[in-house]
Symmetry: C2
Subunit: 344 residues, 2 copies
DNA sequence: AATTAGCACTCTGGCCTTGTGACTGCCAGC
DNA sequence: GCTGGCAGTCACAAGGCCAGAGTGCTAATT
């Protein structure tokens, strides 16, 4: 739908209404807008404008004789046309930088975990960070380590310091020698390719080997686990305590389902993967996202990048969230993360 | 305190009161006990008994003219003296066995994650499983794998199939040769010892080596991470959605703190570690546990064992939980886990 | 001496009523 | 095109009331 032809007044009313609603969570009346924002017109006039906005589907009344609240479309217009990012304070910047740049954090995983935490805290929403997309990475080497009778740890290393380990179960008869052989073949044939390419062409590339079939099969079968992350934590979700006291989660049953969703993680992982890795900030409002449990929520996401891979971070919170601030925070955090990773 | 000298009648009243309270979460009156449990005495008599029990601190009145509810001590006496474990149904047994014995589960970590899930579901409480105590394990080997410039993955394997991997950051100049050397020295000096012993005597044992000091230092410094679990998940907590709708969590602020506790995990990990590995079921009631956030909750824990290591599993839920059932479930699950691991 | 019936008293929770305040929509006048 | 005024609507808080559940105590009963 095209809302470019909103009058200046309509825009202003919508903007002020949303701003006020974000702060109070109460339906906003014409009077409040007239007084608080000194628009120089009377409540009655604003009422007329509000009726127009309601007909356009941008705001709605929870019941007669109540004020208005924004609809999803209302937020959409606000975000697309009216949003002015609010710059971070120095203190906020420092806080983010300090967490991300501290050299004591060991490994990407820990860094992402920390980042999701700070993101949650500073935004007062749910902070989310995703591990980099594995598919983009270029394989540097594969190691196979026997860790016990019948267990082999496979370590898949990717250019840029990413590594993923998967535990394989095997018949206990495999010898170290055979293992080295498999290792060698895998490395010869696959190193230097992107993981995405490997995934697509794996069985072709290994078709004509004369390796013990068992071991090879093992590797091929294990692929689902390689791609889905094995033991690694692919998504970090932190700060549920920040948002569950919001009135949006007053309904007990809704809350229950929400908590369950957080615990499962899988669905959210999919959601964030689907978020795509386009440049810059992406805002997904309410029912624009497919998960029923969080259709009164919005996502604000962005991506971090290094030379070799990229990943998604962002926040989740009630649609009634302070977008102008959050956009800046998420953007700044993603940028800091990108910087920090390029130094590593 | 010694409550062995409770009269038979007092015991019965306490037992019935707790049983009924567990079901309804409402204060229990003398009338209910007299009618429902047909003790053959009048409500008035029960009232007298209840007064005695109240003086002993086993039950209390939330307010005048309400029924009684058990105190922590009341539950304690119930659990110690009156509890009769309720055997599992065949269906429940099958459900647990099926999850634990399915061979498709890859690796101990995944198995424990599954187990905590089923434990949560079947008990309708919070299911918790802990990874085995590392200290007890006997080191079989250490591997050092370069995964990228400046990153080494250290894999510590322990007898019985346990392995833990820690990512080390290093100056980028380390050569593969030097790495092999370190690997060799570490293995020569440490293999065959228990991790606990290694932890205690690490610097002594490595004092007189002529290795590049840098690398060695790195290893020693990294120990905190080895012991605390590195990237591995040490505790699995599942089923928050089961218990948050219980009346015990009606208070919003309490709920918030509870959720926060779950998210942090560290505190709960400590709590479960402190739970000790004594044989059989341990029940911890209300304020007997040190964490303020869950002092209206109880823990029921047990341990699983293999030849080489052992770990803790259990559940967390409101003190008002069906102990007789839960005890059986936790015990059965721990036993099944032990069996499954001995087959692996 | 232990048990019980009876009774007065207390407190909670649900339910209804009422009143107030915050809105809107519309109309007539500026 | 805007605004003041006004009637109408609805949610919500406060107060009052009543029924129900439960106790403690005392006096009668076994």
């Amino acid at each position: 739908m095209a809302f470019e032809n909103l009058s200046e007044r309509e825009r202003q009313v919508l903007e002020h209404l949303i701003e006020h609603y974000i702060q109070t969570a109460d339906p906003v009346g014409s009077r409040v807008i007239a007084n608080k924002y000194r628009m120089g017109i009377s409540p009655a006039t604003i009422r007329n404008t509000m009726q127009d906005l309601e007909e356009l589907g941008l705001i709605q009344q929870p019941h007669t004789s109540a004020g208005r609240i924004p609809t999803d479309s209302g937020y959409r217009v606000f975000v697309d046309m009216l949003l002015q990012p609010e710059p971070l304070t120095k203190a906020e910047q420092d806080r983010i930088k300090n967490i991300i740049k501290q050299r004591r954090v060991k490994g990407l995983n820990a860094l992402l975990s920390q980042t999701s935490k700070i993101l949650g805290e500073i935004t007062n929403q749910l902070g989310v960070t995703m591990a980099p997309k594995f598919d983009e990475g270029v394989l540097t080497r594969i190691d196979l380590i026997p860790v016990a009778e019948g267990h082999i740890l496979m370590i898949v290393s990717v250019k840029g310091g990413l590594a993923r380990s998967i535990l394989l179960e095997v018949e206990s008869e495999i010898e170290v020698k055979a293992l080295r052989q498999v290792e060698q073949v895998l490395n010869e044939r696959l190193a230097g390719l992107s993981m995405g390419k490997i995934r697509a062409t794996l069985s072709d590339r290994l078709a004509d080997t004369n390796l013990t079939p068992k071991l090879l099969k093992l590797f091929i079968d294990s692929d689902s686990e390689i791609w889905s992350g094995g033991q690694a934590e692919l998504i970090h979700i932190t700060g549920a305590d920040n948002i569950i006291s919001q009135p949006e989660f007053a309904d007990r049953e809704k809350l229950r389902e929400f908590i369950k969703l957080l615990e499962e993680k899988k669905e959210l992982q999919k959601l964030f993967e689907a978020q795509g890795s386009a440049e810059g900030i992406i805002i997904t409002i309410g029912r624009e996202n497919p998960l029923a449990e969080i259709q009164n929520c919005s996502l604000v996401t962005s991506t971090y990048k290094t030379e070799n891979f990229s990943g998604t971070i962002g926040i989740i919170g009630p649609t009634r969230m302070p977008y102008s601030k959050l956009v800046s925070i998420v953007e700044y955090t993603a940028r800091s993360l990108t910087e920090a990773l390029s130094e590593m």
